[in-house]
């Protein structure tokens, strides 16, 4: 699984559920699991939170906001809840780490994801990196 990050296509650095990333990669833990378990996951192996559409990011445990990244799940490209989650993370929770869009993330969605504060985007291994980068600034290059 690949990620568009800082203008380049890199390997997905986190292990998503059921994905084929190496066992040493930090694991992405769904918010629901983080909230339900009494103790947050141990830091070894490292983990990041995965916010799903039904979640309210305001309820994330403080430990999740201390991690370098938070993943936002877009199970379908027509489900726009993740955009509001990104805004909440940035503006209400003041999260300054990396926000990552995972799931059904498509070229023509990238710009609006960028505009709500998302930094990195799941993509296909054979994606055209120049085209993806161009997609990020098609409408509002100055915003």
């Amino acid at each position: 699984m690949k990620l568009l990050r800082n203008g380049e296509i890199v390997d997905m650095p986190w292990r998503l559920q059921g994905a084929d990333e190496p066992a040493t990669a930090p694991i992405a833990v769904p918010q629901m699991q983080l909230v339900q378990s009494e103790t947050p996951p141990p830091s070894n192996p490292a983990w990041v939170a995965l916010v799903e559409p039904e979640d309210d990011p305001v309820e994330l445990p403080a430990s999740a906001l201390e991690r370098d990244a938070i993943l936002i799940d877009f199970p379908s490209f027509t489900d726009g809840r993740g955009y509001s989650h990104a805004r909440t993370l940035r503006h209400e929770l003041g999260y300054r780490g990396e926000l990552v869009a995972v799931g059904d993330v498509r070229r023509d969605q990238l710009e609006f994801m960028r505009l709500v504060g998302i930094d990195s985007y799941q993509c296909e291994a054979d994606a055209d990196v120049d085209d993806l980068n161009a997609a990020l600034t098609e409408l509002r290059p100055d915003a």
Partner: protein, 550 residues
């Protein structure tokens, strides 16, 4: 007249280029059907029964003569020589080939027009009073606020994938001609004690399968907070609106499920957040917009009807009484151009008619015109002395039919003839009613009566808020029509009451005749149809209609 600033123009051009890219990727097989569908919808492009349908935005219904000429040219060059005005003050074309749509978008962008968010689950065209800036009962011109909201809503990154479509209307007059109570969000402009602009905010109104009248969620919202408050409502809706069932996905369902108080609490909580993030209203921008929307009319002498009549005759008089309205400036009137001429589909306008209206608006109305919510056009600022000349020019083009606000000024959805969702024909009912009620004097005697027809429960014809609503239903492959009475969309909006069992297709106009006969016999002097139904309910009509059928 207002024109887009350079940044908006540049944005429009980038949108055209982006759309051209999307169409070419689709035609090259690089974009799948589902994804392209969602992208084209956000550019107003549907696939209908016969061909793609392109819906072009007319923001808050205001057009320049240049823009109308472009719409006429598009109809001639790419369509079959006509367009169809919609109830969201937009225009639709029905036959434009997909490959040509990027060129159409370019032609539109060249005159500051577009099809942004005219369909899809996003914030749609902002609608308002077609007499904005001209009517006597206006407190404040709503168009600067509409434009501010349009700029905020177009390409809003957070709200492009809502649970369902989202419609906003703004009214700035004491009489609500924008139907704000039947919109997802309705805004009514008020002035507070200090004379500052504030907004009463209604939420959760809407028609469709489960009609609801909007509930007032905020009183006297300061203008400073307008966009942050809208953003808060949209955020709550985006997060919590239902996404599992498209028929329960509109904000009205959420507001009703939570109850207004709980919904309001959630909006207030979200507002704490959006207030930090969305800048307060920039009053310099608003002042600039106000200045651009305002027209300076040359002083003209008031000319009473008697004097005008002397040079024209009775037909002119009835057109004057029915199709023109008082203007806030002495010596001027606002003129409605009816697109409901019998024999022409309701709301359709040909290229030649568009060209003529564009020329007449240059000649008589400051080069500006309006599309109305009930699918007509308005020349808002016509000098009284020019009315006979205007009327004379409109007549031969079938544009001076004096039926505004009468029974035959109907809203008719495309129905079975064009729409793949339809249960029944709407146009057949339009033809039937026109054939039955062809005496214009009788229509004038009846006074203001709205008739609206929808070909299925989706209610695009807004039948719920008509005096006489007609809904097409299908039973065992046969078309039937369900009638409702006494609805209204103006202040104090109401959903019409069901008359009784559905009526056979060939009896719809006859049933309307029965209903009107009851009204004529039993009304108080000068009582409107709407007031009559409010006073009596549907019982007197029921007796006549179903007794006749039995």
């Amino acid at each position: 007249m207002y024109h887009y600033p350079v940044e908006e123009r540049a944005l429009l051009q980038r949108r055209v280029d982006q759309f051209r890219g999307q169409v070419s990727r689709y035609l090259d097989g690089k974009l799948d059907e589902d994804e392209f569908k969602q992208l084209r919808l956000r550019n107003g492009l549907y696939v209908q029964r016969h061909a793609p349908m392109l819906r072009v935005a007319i923001p808050y219904g205001v057009l320049s003569s240049t823009q109308l000429r472009t719409l006429a040219d598009i109809a001639t060059k790419w369509d079959r020589g006509f367009g169809h005005m919609t109830t969201r003050q937009n225009i639709q074309y029905n036959w434009i080939p997909l490959e040509d749509t990027p060129d159409v978008m370019q032609a539109l962008a060249d005159v500051d027009m577009h099809a942004i968010q005219t369909s899809g689950n996003c914030i749609r065209n902002i609608t308002t009073d077609p007499l904005a800036g001209a009517s006597r009962d206006e407190l404040e011109d709503p168009r600067p606020w509409c434009e501010l909201i349009r700029q905020w809503a177009n390409f809003h990154p957070e709200f492009n994938w809502l649970p369902r479509k989202f419609k906003i209307a703004v009214s700035g007059a004491s009489h609500d001609r924008a139907a704000v109570e039947v919109h997802d969000i309705g805004l009514r402009i008020k002035h507070n004690a200090k004379g500052d602009t504030v907004f009463d905010v209604y939420v959760g109104g809407g028609l469709g399968r489960t009609p609801h009248i909007g509930k007032q969620i905020a009183h006297a919202l300061p203008a400073d907070d307008l966009l942050s408050y809208l953003e808060a409502i949209l955020r709550v809706y985006n997060r919590h609106g239902r996404r599992d069932n498209m028929y329960k996905a509109r904000i009205k369902i959420l507001v009703n499920a939570l109850g207004l108080a709980t919904f309001q609490e959630q909006v207030d909580a979200a507002w704490q957040q959006t207030r930090q993030q969305v800048p307060t209203t920039d009053h310099a921008t608003v002042a600039d917009l106000k200045a651009q929307f305002a027209v300076t009319l040359p002083a003209r002498d008031a000319v009473p009807l008697d004097a005008l009549q002397a040079e024209t005759g009775d037909a002119f008089t009835s057109w004057y009484k029915q199709n023109t309205q008082a203007h806030k400036s002495p010596g001027y009137r606002s003129v409605f151009i009816s697109l409901k001429h019998p024999g022409q589909p309701a709301g359709d306008i040909t290229s030649a008619q568009m060209q003529l209206v564009a020329d007449l608006s240059d000649q008589f109305s400051q080069g500006e015109l309006r599309a109305t919510h009930d699918q007509n056009l308005v020349l808002a600022h016509v000098a009284e002395a020019d009315l006979p000349a205007l009327w004379t020019a409109l007549g031969p083009a079938k544009l001076a039919y004096a039926n505004i606000n009468t029974l035959t000024d109907m809203i008719v959805c495309p129905g079975l003839d064009f729409c793949s969702l339809a249960n029944a024909s709407s146009i057949a009912i339009w033809d039937q009613i026109n054939a039955t009620f062809d005496n214009i004097d009788y229509l004038h005697d009846l006074g203001r009566i709205t008739v609206r027809v929808s070909g299925c429960m989706n209610a695009c014809g807004h039948h719920h808020v008509a005096d006489i609503g007609v809904l097409g239903v299908e039973k065992k492959g046969v078309e039937w029509y369900q009638l409702t009475l006494g609805g209204r969309s103006t202040e104090g909006a109401r959903i019409g009451k069901r008359l009784g069992p559905a009526i056979a297709k060939d009896r719809v106009a006859a049933t309307v005749e029965d209903i009107l006969a009851v009204f004529a016999e039993q009304r108080e002097p000068d009582e409107s149809f709407n007031a009559f139904v409010e006073r009596n309910g549907v019982t007197p009509f029921k007796e006549r209609v179903y007794e006749a059928a039995a």
